[in-house]
Subunit: 295 residues, 2 copies
């Protein structure tokens, strides 16, 4: 089976689970809110973060059934951040994954609330799961996720991204934004999976290094695709970074240096993966795929 | 000491604690985000929810130091909801507690992110506290809070409030909105305090009834003040409910019936409080004050 087929099969498992949440409603208001939340949650996406969480958790001995709620919770956090990033006050995007963005379908007020609802629901879900299981491991996993999502993680990265737009950027600012905005949530998928499986602090540190490398490579690849890809392949307009004067690795260092950096980071990620006991072949293929993907 | 003085002293304790969070920053971007988060978090407010959490927790035997982080976390959730509610896409308010609303000072993008940051930080704080203590009691408290804040609580209530604006409202819709938008977060302050103190399910149910009664009375009083008060006393424009065709108890049943309903709910709340062992005199005064306040 190719990595694309393998990923697709694993994404189907995540989507089947995502389809089980928010299906009952007290009244038509709640139904409308759920519709808006699920519109974005179920509109495709590669499900990379939940797949990483499950793969790492299983690598270190946890079972899929013990990992899947947290995997879905991370996907909800990812989705809420996309809904809010797309708002007119932020990136003002009309399309996401080839479909209208949330506020284009449901209006701005509902899009803000659907995002709030998804962020909060991800915690509801993690808290419920923690209460049913070994609280300590799950609380540690929740801590990893909450740090990555918040003011010192993804929210902080988005602030830096907004504030630096249109200004002359530096390598430091760029690396800060990429570390917080992209790497943080990818990394916590790895460490949360590790926490649930009960790995050591040393392994958690390796997982952090792995996440940082993959996150950087993933983001640079994203920025390369924004220059080199095609709207019909990518499902969103290309050239938007240049239009918005976004600070990116290609804008600072050019395309060739960006591609070399992706290769360097991919090698580092593979070195870390190979240092783990157990079968890391799928994770290695996944990392290589992520860093060389076409969409 | 009058109840106003007593409340003021307790609010000072909350504010001293709130002032200890978000004080260090990695760089100027994070500093700006923290500034925006703290602008709203520290701009006055009666600190009702955190005071209720601590009072109920102490009534049932918990110590203030074991309660105060969760008390502050609830205030953060309350504050984030105000920041998002005030946005142009929602209530479009320029003033809150006599000061400019967050987006009027920091712009819409930052206001959305400051709200997201506060919601997420409240969970970071609760998770940290849970990891340091008896996880189970704290996880139960977190569950109460997350249910109250989310799609079946405050977010759901705000959705119903937005969607019902300008439409002919019914008593059912009104009660749903008040239950979710106001009572839910007040109620979880009581039940979270109870959970941390380790109360029984029966007491939790009494606390839920108490919260619902106080929440309804509090909201109806709020709607009465929007008609009868003065902008200089209230710190925000009056008459905005009528202007926005908001569904309120006074708009459905008139001022006199609204005042009678507040009295009925206050009596019920006092009955429940008197049924608890221990000294509930401060909580009784607080409830009476909340339901008869002038601002």
């Amino acid at each position: 089976m190719s990595i694309k087929e393998g990923l697709h099969k694993k994404a189907e498992i995540i989507e089947a689970k995502l389809n089980t949440y928010l299906v009952t409603h007290e009244n038509s208001y709640e139904e409308k809110l759920h519709e808006s939340m699920l519109y974005s949650l179920l509109s495709g996406g590669k499900r990379i973060r939940p797949i990483l969480l499950i793969e790492v958790g299983e690598l270190f001995g946890a079972k899929q059934e013990d990992l899947i709620d947290f995997a879905c919770a991370i996907e909800m956090i990812h989705t809420y951040s996309l809904i809010h990033d797309d708002l007119p006050a932020m990136d003002d995007d009309d399309l996401r994954r080839g479909k209208k963005t949330n506020h284009k379908v449901y209006g701005e007020a509902m899009a803000i609330l659907a995002g709030d609802g998804l962020l909060n629901f991800s915690y509801e879900l993690m808290i419920e799961t923690s209460l049913k299981n070994d609280s300590y491991c799950y609380l540690k996993a929740m801590k990893e996720i909450s740090k990555a999502a918040g003011h010192q993680g993804m929210v902080g990265g988005q602030v830096a991204d907004c504030l630096s737009e249109g200004k002359i950027g530096t390598k430091d600012t760029l690396e800060y934004i990429q570390l917080k905005k992209t790497s943080a949530l990818l990394t916590c998928a790895l460490t949360a999976g590790g926490c649930i499986a009960g790995v050591s602090e040393m392994t958690l540190n390796d997982l952090r290094k792995l996440g940082t490398a993959v996150g950087f490579a993933f983001q640079i690849r994203d920025d390369i695709l924004d220059i080199e890809s095609d709207e019909s392949v990518l499902g969103k307009p290309i050239g938007s970074d240049e239009k918005n004067h976004k600070l990116t690795y290609p804008s600072l260092f050019g395309l060739e240096a960006s591609k070399a950096k992706v290769r360097e980071l991919t090698d580092e990620a593979n070195r870390i993966l190979k240092s783990f006991d157990g079968d890391t072949s799928f994770l290695e293929s996944l990392v290589n795929y992520l860093c060389n993907r076409e969409y």
